[in-house]
Structures are given as structure tokens and as C-alpha cells.
């Protein structure tokens, strides 16, 4: 969009360039006296351009819960033009608005091979909204132009002029009730290569037809839900963490995170109107 526009993007020559505001999120300082059970490398995909609805919340929850389970998170960012990190244990990516998606699109296609390899190897990944769509086969806009995705997920998305907005509750066979908030105009249809994350009890989900929300493939969880998704759905967060730890260390010995507030926040969120 602004200073992150890749060189050669269609920006008029006389347009002022704006400095980034040095106002980044940071993890709270580590204060655990216990020795770490191991280090897990978490990569945020395109946090500069794809961060529209509190996507930091998902990264923060993964990092903090890793600590609370006794592990050390190593939180890295991957942005347009960066070198792709090696030895990735967990990937989290968020949503953007249309302009953000245009900025990352070319770069994402250039990373198709490495991301596909990680996905096929069973690396746990959480992709929300915009990156859910671009992890699919394509996004066809209302005007008929086709934005290619990287095809990791057997899904396709069609732009509509109807915006699906509001609180969502879904029932997932793996994770129980998943709560969140949707806000999208692209409608996604699942192919036979993926399963839905769940079926909607409140809200719309992938599209206005089939009552399904999100997609599951290997260890990838894809969803339209913000909220942010992971804070109020610790079962989902712990699935991603357990999978990452087991892949790296063979087994996972969980800690005891205090989920009192998460339970209460879920109870109150579930009672709110659509």
C-alpha cells in the first residue's frame, strides 16, 4: 500500500513516500524460570500487508501459549521481498483488504514451492480470510478477472457484491464449538481434496449456500473467522502447537495455561447477536 509497495508497483512518480511508524507489537518479556522444553519457530506471513482484523492476536496467542506450555517461541515475520526463513515449525497468516492482497500476490506465487512443500510435509498452518483465499486455486473477482492462488487448498473463491458480516459459531468435529466473526465478500467453495473446518450454527461461513465454514487439509486450518480466532478458541491454538512440537521433538508435554478468561469470553460471545 504505502512504503511497502514493491518496486515497480503502479505508483505515480510524484507521490510522496510515507515513513513507517515504528509502532510494532512486541511479545511481553519472557520471565519463566523453568528451563525450556524446546524452541518452536513461528512465521507470520505478510504481517505488514495482511493484518486487517487483529491478526496479531493469532501470532501472540501461539507465542504466549508456547511459553505457557514450557516451550520457547521464536516469532519471525515474512514480508514481501524478504528471504524465506528456514526450519519453519508453524505458519500463521491473516487477512488483508483487496489492496493488500494485490501487494502480496506476486510474492506469494514466487513462494508457492516452499509453502507447498511445508504443507505437504505436515507443517501446521493457520490461514485466515485473505490468505485462506490465496492458498486456494483462484479468486475470481466480480468483474471476471482471475487472481491465481498457490493451490495448496482445493478451494475456489468468487467475489460477490454481498458482504457476509457478523458473529459466527461453528461446530467442528475436531475442535468443538469454534467462535469468531466474519467479514468477507468473497465466497469460497470446497473441492473434494479438503474437508470443512465445521458447519455453521450461527452466521454464514464459506458461502451463502452450503453452511460450511473454513477448510482442513493435512495440518492446515483455514478459516474466515476473525475475533481474533485463536484467543477464544484455545483448542485450535493447542492443536497447532501440539502438532508443531510433535513434528520437531516427537512428543508434546503440555503445560497448564489458565483458560478461565477464554471460557468466560466464549460464554459471553456466544450470547451476542449475529
Amino acid at each position: 500500500m504505502t512504503s511497502q509497495s514493491p518496486a515497480g508497483a503502479s505508483v505515480p512518480a510524484n507521490e510522496p513516500v510515507y515513513p513507517p511508524f515504528s509502532f510494532g507489537h512486541e511479545l511481553p518479556p519472557e520471565d519463566s524460570p523453568a528451563p525450556s522444553k524446546g524452541t518452536i519457530r513461528v512465521v507470520q506471513l505478510y504481517p505488514r500487508d495482511m493484518n486487517i482484523y487483529g491478526d496479531w492476536g493469532n501470532a501472540l496467542v501461539l507465542a504466549q501459549r508456547l511459553r505457557w506450555h514450557g516451550y520457547t517461541p521464536e516469532l519471525l515475520e515474512y514480508n514481501v521481498g524478504d528471504e524465506f526463513p528456514a526450519k519453519v515449525d508453524l505458519i500463521v497468516g491473516g487477512g488483508g483488504q483487496d489492496s493488500g492482497q494485490l501487494v502480496i500476490q506476486e510474492d506469494l506465487l514466487s513462494r508457492e514451492t516452499v509453502l507447498k512443500e511445508l504443507a505437504e510435509n505436515g507443517t501446521p498452518m493457520l490461514v485466515i480470510c485473505g490468505l485462506y483465499q490465496l492458498f486456494g486455486k483462484f479468486f475470481k473477482t466480480r468483474t471476471g478477472s482471475v487472481i491465481p492462488g498457490i493451490g495448496i487448498l482445493d478451494v475456489e473463491t468468487h467475489g460477490t457484491d454481498q458482504r457476509l458480516i457478523g458473529n459466527v459459531s461453528i461446530s467442528s468435529p475436531e475442535f468443538g464449538t469454534v467462535l469468531g466473526y466474519e467479514n468477507h465478500s468473497g465466497q469460497t467453495t470446497l473441492g473434494p481434496g479438503v474437508a470443512p473446518l465445521g458447519t455453521t450454527a450461527k452466521g454464514t461461513g464459506n458461502n451463502s449456500r452450503d453452511g460450511q465454514e473454513g477448510a482442513r487439509y493435512k495440518n492446515i486450518v483455514a478459516s474466515y473467522l476473525h475475533g481474533s480466532l485463536l484467543p477464544k478458541n484455545p483448542a485450535l491454538a493447542d492443536f497447532l502447537i501440539r502438532t508443531a512440537v510433535e513434528r520437531k521433538y516427537g512428543s508434546f508435554s503440555p503445560g497448564t495455561p489458565d483458560d478461565t478468561y477464554a471460557v468466560l469470553a466464549r460464554e459471553h460471545a456466544a450470547r451476542r447477536p449475529r
Binding site: 510522496p16 513507517p20 487483529g54 492476536g57 481474533s228 484467543p231
Partner: protein, 434 residues
Amino acid sequence: MFYFSVPLGKLVRRVSRLRGGGSALPGLVVEKIDPGFMRRTLSTLPHGVAVVSGTNGKTTTTKMVVELLESQGLKVFTNRTGSNFTRGVAAALLGEVDWRGRLNADVAVLELDEAHAVHFVNQVPPRYCLLLNVLRDQLDRFGEIDKTAQLLQHIASKTTGTVVLNREDPRVARIADTLDGPDVSYFGLDDSLLSTFPNDDELRAAPGSPVPPAPARPHADVVLRRVGAADADFEYDGVTATTTMKLRGVYNIFNAAAALTLARAIAVRDSVPGETAVADNKGLLKALSQVAPAFGRGESLVVDGLPLDLVLVKNPSGFRLGLKSFPAAGYATMIAINDNYADGRDMSWLWDVEFDTLRGGGVDQLSGSRAYDMALRLQYDEVPIGAVNTEIAPALAAFISAARDKPKRVFCTYTAMLAIRRELSKITAVEVVS
């Protein structure tokens, strides 16, 4: 038709006020029977109409512009009641016009919600507009930030005289490139203050990420150079002037630069031809020093002989600026988060705000329909939490009695603020906003 539309509208207004009803019904009536009413009435004003829009700070900024112009002897019509939509303007007009539909004012300064401003400018092209910012606010209503920017662009394109833009908000500043009719004036920030105003694209900029060389930004009519504890430096016409300020909070004072830019355009530069300027800069600056915050926008009330500050928070940038503008040290802190329609239903925005500045003192009380979402957010930032109660009245009472010997601060969303003001009015003097 329009011979009786005004008397009829005024009558409906009286009746609906007697019933204690809403302010929009009379506007609706006059809009239906006399669609040309607003345009006809407002087009007679010698200084025309100024529209103030943007995500954050409309109310305070509009109040400032009105007070600046009034201090210089101009008679200003404004939509004070906070009904910042077209029908609300029509209703406010009905209250001000005489029975023959004449408005006794020199200029109209109107606060308009982005989407409603578009309807308004289609009916009444303004002479001036002031566009403050485009931030993530209630995206569940407008869809996306870029769409909100398009709404503001439309307002600018309908403006006939001067468009005042925030130079530091890229989405607002670039509206200038799309205009060929109106003049453009900017208000801006000193480089040293830029880092206190994150824009939404930069919310996630990595700590310590390299800062590119200082960019060439367009000349700004008014630049906020420095913000002190109770004063500020504004630069205009090549001179830096220091003034004391009653307003608190960096973002309020940046909005003061915005108000000053618009007031200069209206009252200094564009005085009525043949007459001398109605105001001078010194007079405007003096008036600026006297402006008090609008309700709930850094407003300070007195409870048990100690200040209780109300800070309205409605989007990530505003919450961040609120935390930065009002340091927590020495204060008891309460946060009240509602998710009613006017607050925005999506709680994602809480995760775009960092609460590390509250880690030292903790938060004494949480409340609102999404109090537990806020508790969860604070837990992940390792901020200690006192009590949680989703009901605002008992939560506020507990907060006040537990922190009797400390100054207090409440960060609250819009409808939570209304509820808190209602409760506070039972125990202290709270300005009634009609």
C-alpha cells in the same frame, strides 16, 4: 409546497421534543415533503457550508472549528446534538430557521459520518471540507478502509472551495491527486511527532525496522511542531507560535491543527470580497487555547474531589493514542468495552492495540458486554486484572469506591461511555448534551 414545509417541520419538531422523542423525525418529515429544503436554506449562507468527516475526532474538531469561528464574530450553524447524518442536519436546521425558513448564520460547520456525508454533499455541495483520517473503525459497517477512503474522496470531489486534508494519513493525503476543482490545504505533523500517530498499515511494523530517509511531503498550511504538558507549538505562515491548551491528548491537539487550517481558510483567507478578513491568526490561536474537550473525548469530571477522565476508544489507533496520551502512572484504570451496533460488533480490533503501558499498574476494573474479551486480551499482554463485571453500573460503583483516594481514568467504547456518563451524572456534575 415549501411555504408550509418549514412550519410543519417545526411543529413536528416541537411535538416530538415534547414527547421526548428522537431528533430525526422532523428531519424526515421535511425531507419527504420538501426535498430542496436543506440546499435552499444552506445556500444562502455568505461563507457557505463546511463538512468535517473522517474516522476519529469529528466531534472535537467540529466543536473547535465552531468555537474558533464564533470567537471571531461569525454566526455559525452546526449539528451540535451529534446526529451526524443528513436527517439530523435537517432536524437541526429546523430548530434554527425562522418560521419562513431563513437561517440567521454566516457559515455552517457540519460533522458528518463518512457514509452520510456522501448523501449530504450530493444534495448540498459544500464550499469547504475537512477530512481527518481513515482508520479501522466499524469496518463491519463500511467493509474496508479503502472503501471509506473512497467515501471521503467523493466528499472532496463535491467541494467547491477548499479541501483540507491530513498530510500524514496516506489515504487522505492522496485524495489531492484526484481533485482538479477545489484548492487543497494540508495540516501536518513535525517529523518528531510522526511516530506517535501510527496509521493502520503500520500497526504491525516490526520493532526496530529501518526508517527510510525523510520523504518529501507537501507543504502544510498548519504544522503541529511540539506538544507540551499544557501547551503546543503550531507553525503557519513561516512562524512558530506557542499557545497554552485546555485540550489534552496528542490526537486532540493534532485535530486542533486541523481546525485551525479550516478556520484560516474560512475566516482569514476567504473573507467576503470587498471586506477585510473577519479574523486574524492571533485571535484564532487565542480562541484555540480556550477550547475544552467534547464530551467523552478526554473529558475530565470530578468524583470525590479527584479527577475522573473519560477517554472514548473506538478503534485500534484511537485506543493506542489514548493510552499514549494519558499515561497510567498514579491513576486507577477502568476499561469498558461494549459491542453494540454503534460500537462495532467485531472485537478483533482489541488485538491490534498493545497494552504493555498498563502492565505496571494493572487494570482495576473491566466492564461492558465484552469485558471478558478485554480480560483475555490483557491476559495475553500479561497485564494484571482487578475485577470483571459485564454490568456497567455496579462495575463503575465498585471502581469508584475501591479507588477513592486516586485520580481515575476510564477507557470506554461509545455506548459504554453513554452508560457511564448516565451513572456519573447521579453523583457529579456532567454536562448534559441535548
